[in-house]
Symmetry: C2
Subunit: 584 residues, 2 copies
């Protein structure tokens, strides 16, 4: 090793030792005959000192010439500092340098390598290798490392076998777009990159693997949003001979283990809520339970009182924001404008203020008496100082709008603490959802999800009402994982493909191997997959997954650091039996 | 859970308990009023018993109707067996079934689900999910699982951070062919799948990650041989501020840890050998050290004695096969034929038998006296009963031929025990190797490998003689891993690209980001990558990696189970701005 110690480990007990450190120059302070250099590595920061007289003149000059981010190796004696720095673990000592070697000089970095940097997103992405040098970023990836190790520890301990499934698989039309890979050897044919190892893990259950897991890269060629990446990582799991409850138990265990070991948080019990209740009370299949503000159905109390907008609306919905009665007129106008933005789409906002004196004041006093308003307040068990916010419209739309408003109020009232974690299982998802565009039902989860036994007869009469053995794990309003009990017999799977609009020929061409596998002794099985990037972001208290990915791509799917994707050579294309043909 | 216990856990102490098992029917034996069923799962095998009278008639009939590989759930009482089976851990008990449910029937599998199967390779690959049901195959993947977990445990313990590098990267012309992925969003441009995360891990060192590892899929679009796969797994590692010795130490530690925890083997010290010595003594840069048979240079003793073939040869080489003097004439003729096959390419084989009576008998007695032969025998320290085998020709060719012959003799004499492990570091590889086809030097390892300081001046005068700071880990004649100390400054890297025939423009286009990164404070660093599939095969005592991969591809790169690669839809191609153009 070019060092005897790291820059994070020397203490008072090391005083007197001859040591060698290596690292990056964080800072140079020159006081004439005295030069201090802060030397940094992944493990910490140690102060080097160069004194006139006690060291030769050359050395002092060499130290003076050091620039930010130079890589150096310094040897000398550990001495006690006169002015101690209690902010860092090595702050009681410094290294009195007797030998200094510049291992590599550095150009001035294009932005500050500090927790608070002056580099913009684009610049930092181009020089991602410098961005990663910042402690705040590296720590996020160290958290990710810890999460991976602890996930494996738990899964291994619970008897799961980690199996690597193939990356070069087969393109299927179901779901999002596939990335494809032309085959050179099989001219004119393509592999696809997996959107998930779904069919492979099910086959592993048919193989009797009993418990499978994998932390695995998956790929989706979607139009990217800020929080999506074309390649992402899943914790992917499957179990045999289980019912839904067994899976919820097992992965509640994993979640608990991760919070405990990685964050030092003892998680409270994970609540359960049906999809129907989540929609009814939170307008959302991934409610943030760090705060209340449950929706109340105000149809019985507020319709039929002569207020046309409510009378004509399918649904009048309210939430009660505790302590928000002190919102000013200006704040309320802003809130009204906010719900009327096209992204939210409400026509307007009605509110009822519960004044300190016990009276109620609403924007629709013309239509509602104090008694009417008291009844509404009573429904919410509201108190003086609270404010009730009301939206109306078509059921689906108003739920969505109210969900957004609820989250906004939670944010404004400081109820969404990043260090509080409220996990929730949402269960009993619908099996199918209607797609207006294609005018047919799509699988809400995926085509391998089993319907609830008691609902199967509805498949013919009311497909949208059929519930699935499907579940999502939600933490703080973010969907972290989802899964289902799978279909494990050929007939049900064929019926499902049929309901999803596959012809028998299409089903056979795409999933023939799975249908056939089900005939050779497939056990009942089910599983779950966690979005690992997002899980890490939640643990780190972040909204964005990008900082938790070492080398992320931008919103156009580009890696601006290595400048990829890029054009490739003509003969490469020819070997692959393809040519580029850009549509004008 | 659909079971209370697995099929591998019930013992005598469980007698009397009411339990439920679930699994696959391995075998049904029907003795009229008595039916035994062997129920199998990943954990073991438990005997079920159905008795006439003690259980109702329906149940007995149901048991009789069970077919091989049916998935069933059986409940009843654990009883002590009359006829115990000491071959299996559950052999002292059986389950007296009172309730039986067929969870899924099964068609008769196309081959026997037994350790010794009647299924051929092709059939087993098509039904890989059934092949994986066989214990011998599943155990190989469980070994792989164990290897992964223990690798991570060691690396995590040694302060390495696991970082996932991107799968969608940039195509580079260096090395093997890339698999490419057309970008939809960036029309006409392509990602490439990584042949290794080489540049990313070096950038992580520039980022100060200090110690990085990853168990990662890599991709090479090569023409496949039996033991190659288009996608394969590497244990990939990199360290900063290290010299070669530090890396050898660290990964000797990993190897030792894996052998101890996974195989229960305490590894002896890992030997070191220079590339030059490996070639000189074993004709091979990955010698199998489970046996001796080192080459001896016979030029001094056997040239100039009038035997034209030897006199004209650049090199006369011999090995001594202990105890092989009893080879019959027929065996020796077969051996001669073997070395003359085109795959080996020798012109002939000369041997000297050391007879029991102390005399020596050779095929070239005409040219060599007993004294001459004694001198040769003396060089080998041969004993009566041994046989010396001699080849001659051009140095490179004869080394290769002799290496093959040595391995064959080792095999024939039973010296290559699969349960003996002889690891070896081969060091001091040449930096460059001459390529006849392109008439230029190629990087033997890769273009990022550093030359030995003392050899740098040779780069201009004798490039082929420059040694690299490169090393391979070899176990039992198989290359398991390889790595190097990297170049970490822009000038040396540019010079290397220049020597490899890159123009400055090409170097910048392909590796500009790396060259630039080296200017912002790159630490000295080096690393290694292990072929994980092969490592698992070695640990399992296998020659082929295919059984250690859950879903391997065949020699045409096809997954015959899912029938991939396959054609894709026209509109998919159009979206990707490519079209298929098959050369006639």
């Amino acid at each position: 090793m070019l060092r005897t110690h790291t820059c994070g480990e020397l203490r008072l007990t090391d005083v007197g030792k001859q040591v060698t450190l290596a690292g990056w120059v964080q800072r140079v302070r020159n006081k004439g005959g005295l030069v201090w250099v802060d030397l940094r590595d992944r493990y910490g920061l140690t102060q080097l000192i160069f004194e006139e007289g006690s060291t030769d003149a050359d050395l002092l000059e060499k130290a003076t010439d050091l620039g930010r981010e130079f890589v150096v190796k310094a040897s000398g004696e550990v001495i006690e500092r006169t002015a101690k720095n209690n902010n860092i673990p090595t702050g009681e000592i410094e290294l009195k340098v007797s030998e200094l070697e510049v291992l590599n000089p550095a150009k001035l970095p294009p932005f500050l390598i500090e927790d608070e940097t002056d580099g913009g997103e684009e610049l930092r992405m181009k020089y991602r290798y410098l961005d990663l040098r910042r402690n705040v970023i590296r720590e996020k990836l160290q958290l990710r490392h810890r999460m991976m190790q602890e996930t494996r520890k738990y899964m291994d301990g619970a008897g799961f076998i980690e199996v690597e499934t193939p990356v070069l698989i087969k393109s299927t039309p179901e779901g999002a777009r596939d990335f494809v890979v032309p085959s050179r050897v099989n001219a004119g044919e393509f592999y696809a990159l997996p959107q998930s190892p779904q069919t492979f893990k099910q086959l592993l259950m048919v193989s009797g693997f009993d418990r499978y897991f994998q932390i695995v890269k998956c790929f989706r060629d979607e139009d990217l949003r800020a929080d999506r990446q074309p390649e992402f990582t899943q914790i992917d799991c499957e179990m045999s001979f289980v019912e839904q409850e067994d899976i919820l138990d097992t992965f509640e265990g994993l979640t608990r283990h991760l919070f405990k070991t990685v964050r030092g948080v003892e998680l409270e019990e994970v609540q359960r809520m049906s999809f129907a209740d989540a929609m009814r009370y939170y307008g959302n299949d991934k409610p943030d339970l760090r705060f209340g503000m449950r929706f109340e159905d105000l149809n019985p109390l507020m319709k039929g009182k002569g207020f046309g907008i409510f009378d004509q609306a399918e649904q009048v919905l309210g939430i009660c924001a505790e302590g928000a009665a002190e919102y000013t007129r200006k704040q309320l106008d802003a809130l009204t404008e906010w719900v009327k933005r096209p992204q939210i789409g409400a026509k307007g906002l009605v509110y009822i203020k519960y004044n300190a004196d016990g009276t109620l004041k609403s924007t629709v006093d013309k239509f509602y008496s104090q008694d009417d308003l008291q009844a509404v307040a009573g429904l919410f068990k509201a108190n003086p100082g609270d404010m009730i916010l009301i939206l109306s419209g078509d059921l689906g739309a108003v739920r969505k709008q109210m969900s957004e408003l609820r989250l906004k109020m939670g944010e404004e009232l400081g109820l969404r603490d990043r260090n509080v974690f409220k996990p929730l299982w949402v269960v009993d998802f619908p099996l199918l959802e209607w797609d207006e565009e294609t005018q047919r039902y799509h699988a809400m989860h995926h085509p391998f999800t089993s319907p609830k036994k008691e609902d199967i007869t509805l498949l013919e009469t009311d497909p949208g009402a059929v519930r699935a053995n499907a579940y999502d794990l939600v933490i703080n309003g973010v969907e972290i994982g989802g899964g289902s009990i799978r279909i494990h017999d050929r007939n049900t799977q064929s019926m499902m493909f049929n309901h999803l609009g596959f012809t028998p020929e299409e089903a056979k061409k795409q999933f023939g191997f799975l249908l056939e596998a089900f005939e050779y002794g497939a056990p009942p099985h089910g599983g779950i997959a966690f979005g690992f990037d997002r899980l890490c972001a939640i643990f780190g208290g972040s909204d964005s997954i990008r900082d938790y990915i070492a080398f992320p791509k931008n919103n156009s799917g580009r890696d601006v650091m290595i400048d990829s994707p890029s054009s490739i050579a003509e003969d490469q294309l020819e070997e692959l039996s393809i040519q580029v043909k850009i549509k004008k």
